[in-house]
């Protein structure tokens, strides 16, 4: 059965995934809006950067984040100057890394939803006296709801499933950075196959249920 360290890892994983997803919905929305609406020449480049985590090995992302956030890195120097210390090997560092790693899984469904709405409802709202901000909350967000559902589920599930980035930037510190995927790795290393089974089977069941919910609740929404 699951031990205390296993339960701690599960709790930490859920916490990480929730914080990451909330932050991503918040920061991903303006990015998705810009990508969906812009006619700027930068659209391609920004879209590509957002999509990078899909194709890059997690170790590459982890490595660069480590360099950037580390004591000698530019972000690290900034965080130190602000009295925040350095982020690697802390929960906050893990959150930052997860936000980057899961960014495309949140931005793309929202962007697709925004694009699917098209110009017309926005124009109709404008002719009905709604300011652009008013239109965003009264028309765009409700119409993009399926996209937000997809984005939340994928962002959450993808964060739960990350391993390489966590290992690079978070290390393996119990209660602080040791998430389920790392815990499974530890069990396997220690030949504790029973525990590894429990956790792994739990992950399989969790992922299946999440995707099943997504596909049944949101049959019309765009899927990645």
């Amino acid at each position: 059965m699951l031990g205390d360290t296993d339960l701690a890892a599960i709790a930490l994983t859920l916490k990480l995934a929730i914080v990451t997803t909330v932050l991503l919905l918040f920061f991903g929305t303006p990015i998705a809006w810009w990508l969906a609406r812009t006619r700027s020449a930068w659209k391609g480049a920004v879209g590509a950067v957002v999509a990078l985590p899909i194709v890059l090995p997690p170790t590459v992302i982890g490595f660069y984040l480590l360099v950037m956030l580390g004591p000698q890195g530019p972000v690290g120097q900034l965080t130190q100057a602000l009295g925040l210390g350095v982020l690697p090997f802390t929960f906050a560092g893990l959150v930052v890394a997860s936000v980057f790693y899961s960014l495309p899984f949140v931005v793309q469904p929202i962007q697709n939803a925004f694009e699917a709405i098209g110009e017309r409802p926005l124009e109709a709202a404008a002719t009905l006296r709604a300011s652009p901000l008013d239109t965003f909350f009264s028309v765009v967000l409700p119409l993009a709801r399926p996209g937000y559902l997809t984005a939340s589920v994928l962002g959450f599930a993808h964060t739960v499933g990350e391993f390489g980035v966590v290992l690079m930037i978070g290390g393996n510190i119990p209660d602080r950075t040791r998430v389920v995927s790392v815990q499974i790795y530890d069990h396997v290393e220690a030949l504790e196959y029973a525990q590894a089974h429990w956790l792994s089977a739990g992950m399989v069941a969790f992922s299946f249920v999440v995707l099943l919910l997504l596909y049944t609740l949101n049959p019309t929404g765009r899927r990645v």
Binding site: R120, P121, E123, A124, A125, A126, T127, L128, R129, A130, S131, P132, D134, S138, V139, P142, L143
Partner: protein, 362 residues
């Protein structure tokens, strides 16, 4: 300050896109229905969008009944222009019920400037039974009626309609037209109505702007403008005049109504309109023929004395288009050049117009 004697809309817009340009400087009446008429690509929808502020035209100027909406210093974004806009597809918000769609615009208008109540808009378009439904559960005609009511509920000071009937089939169009006529009769809101359908224009408009290639070819009152010889040719088979008439008498035996217009009377099929009712009649140039003497022994019911005003070569070399005056009303007749030659037509000459078909519209 310049004072505006009569309500008017001044619009000046110049746009240059590759393959399309718009260059208009118009003064339109600030009341009644003005049709922006032209083929697709003539710029009529772009002009309407520019007036709405949906198309941002640099250097454009727009003043509506004395209020500047756009000039070199000012650009009021769409949501700050007191207008109503009806799109070709109703463009209702799919996540809101009919009721909530109607309220969407209305609740964003300050109570002090509301002149059209929600109940009034609902009653006028007869959509009371649809209020609880979602737009997806409405027919095309119902959707468009809700779209019109939604625009009205904002108490617009200018109503812009972009081919509101073009996406509907014939039966749906007939369903909506009476409501549009009602708008015209009951509300004192100036309407700009974009259309490429001559029958809609003939039925609804008081005033017309004929657009071609991004320019306004002609603008003026409907009857006079349609009777201009240089324009009807562009209308081809649809060339003809629209006359305001009143039901003068009804003939029960033959089911005919006698319509009186400024210049005479015409028999039309009796559509049940009571005596004294005002209606428009439309006479196409191809349905009018000319004779030197009044004929007897013909099936044609309507023969009127007329004076030749002018004529012009039609698009086909065999045809000529003749402008006539029947009393105070203009009329157009399309003849072959050979007939015109045989009749020795010349301006000022008295002839008899035989009218094969008169359409009663609205």
């Amino acid at each position: 300050m310049k004072t505006v004697a009569r309500p008017a809309i001044h619009a000046r817009f110049k746009l240059d896109y590759p393959g399309f340009s718009l260059d208009v400087d118009l003064t339109l009446p600030g009341q009644g229905v003005t049709a922006l008429f032209g083929h697709s690509g003539s710029g009529k929808t772009t002009l309407l969008r520019a007036i709405a502020g949906l198309e941002r035209v640099a250097g454009g100027r727009l003043a509506v009944n004395g209020e500047t909406w756009q000039d070199d210093a000012v650009f009021r974004p769409t949501h700050q222009r007191p207008l109503g806009y009806v799109f070709q597809e109703a463009s209702l918000f799919p996540h809101l019920s009919v009721q909530a769609n109607l309220e969407y615009g209305q609740k964003r208008v300050p109570a002090a400037v509301r002149r059209v109540s929600l109940d009034q808009a609902v009653a006028m378009l007869d959509i009371g039974h649809l209020l609880g439904r979602k737009p997806a559960r409405l027919s095309g005609g119902e959707r468009q009626r809700v779209g019109i009511a939604r625009a009205l509920a904002t108490s617009p000071r200018l109503l812009l309609m972009d081919e509101p009937l073009a996406a509907l089939d014939h039966a749906r169009k007939q369903e909506i037209l009476p409501y549009l006529e009602r708008l015209h009769d009951e509300l004192d809101i100036p309407v700009l109505y974009v259309s490429h359908a001559p029958d809609e224009v003939a039925r609804l408009a008081d005033h017309i702007v004929v657009m071609e290639g991004g320019r306004a070819l002609a603008t003026g009152p409907l009857t006079d403008t349609l009777a201009r010889l240089d324009l009807p040719i562009k209308l081809g088979e649809d060339a003809g005049v629209v006359l305001d008439a009143v039901v003068a008498e009804r003939d029960a035996e033959w089911h005919l109504a006698h319509m009186e217009f400024a210049g005479g009377r015409l028999w039309v099929r009796d559509h049940g309109l009571p005596v004294g009712h005002a209606a428009r009649v439309r006479i196409l140039a191809r349905d009018a023929s000319l004779a030197r003497t009044p004929h007897s022994g013909t099936s044609i019911l309507n023969t009127l004395p007329a004076v030749v005003v002018d004529s012009i070569d039609d698009t086909h070399p065999a045809l000529t288009l003749v402008k006539l005056r029947v009393g105070d009303s203009p009329l157009l007749a399309r003849l072959t050049r050979r007939s015109a030659h045989a009749l020795e037509l010349e301006p000022g000459q008295l002839v008899y117009v035989q009218i094969k078909a008169v359409a009663l519209i609205g």
